[in-house]
């Protein structure tokens, strides 16, 4: 892993109404790493993700993606060129309910590239198989899929244009432990084969341990720590203590030590 930051957030302030949700947040995501982003519910993890991808306005600070400050982008075209280089997996999948699985995956491809129908079908199917789904689901509608399948299809759609960065908002929430472990494995494999940088908002201690290269912790609107899981467990900060060494955390710690 080299130390080139694909995303660097500096002194970011985001708020609704009077109280800031993110208070001078500073964070780097390096090329080729999986960054796990944790924090208590409602701490603003998703807010940071949504601010980086441009769904929420910021009050102060800078966000640089691939070395370009997003605020400096002059035209819609430049912004789209950046957006094309990232993919987003929303918490609920956010699949288009009136399109089939195949059409969902093809949607970004169809809009951005002019490809032959045959190649588009092949690419959509290739993506579907890469996320571990059977070709048989391609003509199904999102309402007919299970929760785990929805997440996989949404991941396939996020990866449709071969992005360099993938944002995952709680990818394993709502999955059973086996499904969650498989999904972690899938993210790891895809990250390696496609050379992705991954920003993963998660609560799943197992995924933090299994796939994340680094972990960033958001408490009270600030990033209080960033580093590998060992340093999180070793930390004396009370919140980190409670999070990583609480009842649920102990198991993971146990795993780390052996």
């Amino acid at each position: 892993m080299n130390n080139e930051a694909v995303i660097s957030v500096r002194d970011l302030v985001v708020g609704f109404g009077a109280t800031p949700v993110l208070d001078h947040v500073t964070l780097d995501i390096f090329r080729g790493e999986i960054l796990g982003f944790v924090g208590s519910s409602g701490a603003g993890k998703s807010v940071l993700m949504r601010t980086i991808i441009g769904l929420l306005p910021k009050r102060a600070g800078t966000i640089e993606v691939f070395g370009t400050d997003l605020a400096d982008l002059q035209s819609e075209l430049e912004r789209r060129a950046i957006e094309r280089r990232w993919g987003v997996l929303f918490q609920q999948g956010a699949l288009f309910s009136s399109l089939t699985v195949r059409q969902n995956i093809q949607f970004p491809i169809r809009e951005r590239l002019k490809l032959s129908p045959r190649l588009m079908d092949e690419i959509a199917l290739a993506k579907l198989e890469m996320v571990g789904l059977d070709a048989g689901v391609r003509e199904k509608f999102p309402a007919e899929l299970s929760g785990g399948m929805v997440k996989r299809v949404a991941l396939a759609r996020a990866l449709a244009l071969d992005p360099e960065i993938v944002f995952l908002d709680e990818p394993t929430s709502g999955l059973d432990p086996i499904g969650a472990a498989e999904f972690d494995e899938l993210i790891r494999t895809l990250q390696r084969t496609l050379g992705l940088s991954v920003f993963m908002v998660t609560h799943d201690l197992d995924s933090l341990h299994a796939v994340c290269d680094r972990i960033a912790v958001l408490v009270d609107g600030r990033v209080i720590a960033a580093g590998p899981i060992e340093s999180m467990i070793a930390s004396q900060h009370p919140w980190l203590n409670a999070y990583f060494r609480g009842k649920r955390g102990r198991q993971v710690e146990h795993l780390v030590h052996h």
Binding site: S98, L125, A126, E129, L161, D162, R192, L194, G195
Partner: protein, 379 residues
């Protein structure tokens, strides 16, 4: 980024070497597809083919798949194709795409007889209409059961909910309904005066407008407005509740969705629609009176005098009696359509449209039945 993607061929004996250069990425996928199809055709006869990736700048899934497709095409033509010069970063990707698209896709959409397709469509539509009538009867039955249950235990009536819906479908509809019926009344009067003037029978415009408004137009216009305004809202609300499993949640907690969701809505509509009809009829008469005065030169005294002679209580009652039945129809259709929403956003849109169209249609059919009934009893 700007380097073009190419595939150059060199022959060494009976061995053909295809060297891929440049960026084999999504942006160039369209031209790359032509290149590989072309290559697969041109080197049909080649016995051994080495696809050399050593000079590649960049490779993504699109490029990797196209290389794999080229390899498969060559293999299918009887050549021995292999991929050489793989960098470590690209190896994983090439390995990955080697596994995909292995199963042949069954051909979708075979040859179908057009006549059969048309007949199939008609059949399905008719069955759909029949089924929706069954569902309507079903909900009417369920609603009647709930009404009986509520009469036995009046404490089960959700008064707060009824008042809430009454405000939405009744009170908040007052301005728009008053305005539209006012305009309809005015337009009817203006048209009447304009035409009747030729016979010197302008004064009979008041007869025409008052009977028309009180018996038919008032209640119909109000029904159309309410179906578009409140019926569609009911369908969309119930539909999105169904999509988010809220209705299932209610059921598992031991509540009857008909009692909790449908009854308050329909009761509110049945109360609101007659009130709105009365208000709408008055607004229409007011509009007609104003036009008669300003455009037709009939003073309000003449208008009221003529009105008193033209209508009697049953004229007014005919319109008002119809209103609650039409409210029931609109409410039932809206709720049935709402419960029929399936998982997708498109289905929600379709059901909302169909709720408005169906309820307006059924209101008109019902109006026709009422016309026959009132004629038969001489009202």
């Amino acid at each position: 980024m700007s380097s073009t993607a190419t595939l150059t061929a060199t022959t060494e004996g009976d061995r053909l070497a295809l060297a891929a250069t440049g960026a084999w990425t999504a942006e160039r996928a369209a031209e790359l597809e032509e290149i590989i199809d072309d290559a697969a055709q041109r080197y049909e006869a080649a016995r051994t083919v080495d696809i050399d990736l050593a000079k590649l700048d960049r490779l993504d899934t699109f490029g990797a798949w196209l290389i794999e497709r080229l390899k498969r095409a060559l293999t299918a033509q009887g050549s021995t194709a292999r991929i050489i010069g793989l960098s470590d970063t690209d190896r994983g990707l090439i390995e990955e795409v080697r596994l995909v698209n292995r199963t042949a896709l069954p051909e979708t959409g075979g040859e179908n007889n057009r006549v059969l397709v048309a007949l199939d469509g008609i059949g399905r539509t008719m069955a759909g209409i029949g089924w929706s009538l069954v569902l309507l009867a079903h909900l009417l039955g369920a609603l009647s059961m709930v009404v009986v249950g509520t009469l036995a235990h009046p404490s089960r009536l959700r008064l707060t909910s009824i008042v809430h819906h009454l405000e939405r479908v009744g009170w908040r509809a007052v301005p728009i309904i008053a305005l539209s019926t006012f305009l309809i009344g005015a337009i009817l009067a203006q048209q009447g005066i304009f035409r009747f003037r030729a016979f010197g029978a302008e004064v009979y415009v008041i007869d025409m407008v008052s009977v028309l408004v009180l018996r038919e137009v008032g209640v119909l216009i109000v029904c159309v407005m309410v179906a578009g305004r409140s019926g569609s809202a009911y369908t969309a609300e119930l539909g999105s509740m169904k999509m988010r499993e809220e209705i299932d949640a209610l059921r598992t907690m031991g509540f009857d969705p008909v009692e909790v969701l449908v009854l308050p809505r329909i009761v509110a509509l049945v109360i609101a629609l007659p009130l709105l009809t009365f208000l709408g009829s008055m607004a229409a008469l007011y509009g007609a009176g104003l036009v008669c005065w300003l455009y037709g030169g009939m003073t309000p005294d003449i208008f009221l005098e003529r009105l008193r002679e033209a209508i009697w209580l049953p004229t007014f009652a005919v319109g008002m009696i119809k209103a609650p039945f039409m409210a029931l129809t609109i409410g039932l259709v809206a709720c049935v359509e709402g419960f029929n929403v399936e998982g997708s956003a498109a289905s929600l849109g379709l059901r909302t449209t169909s709720s408005v169209v169906k309820s307006i249609f059924m209101v008109i059919v019902l109006d026709g039945l009422f016309a026959m009934f009132f004629a038969a009893i001489g009202m």
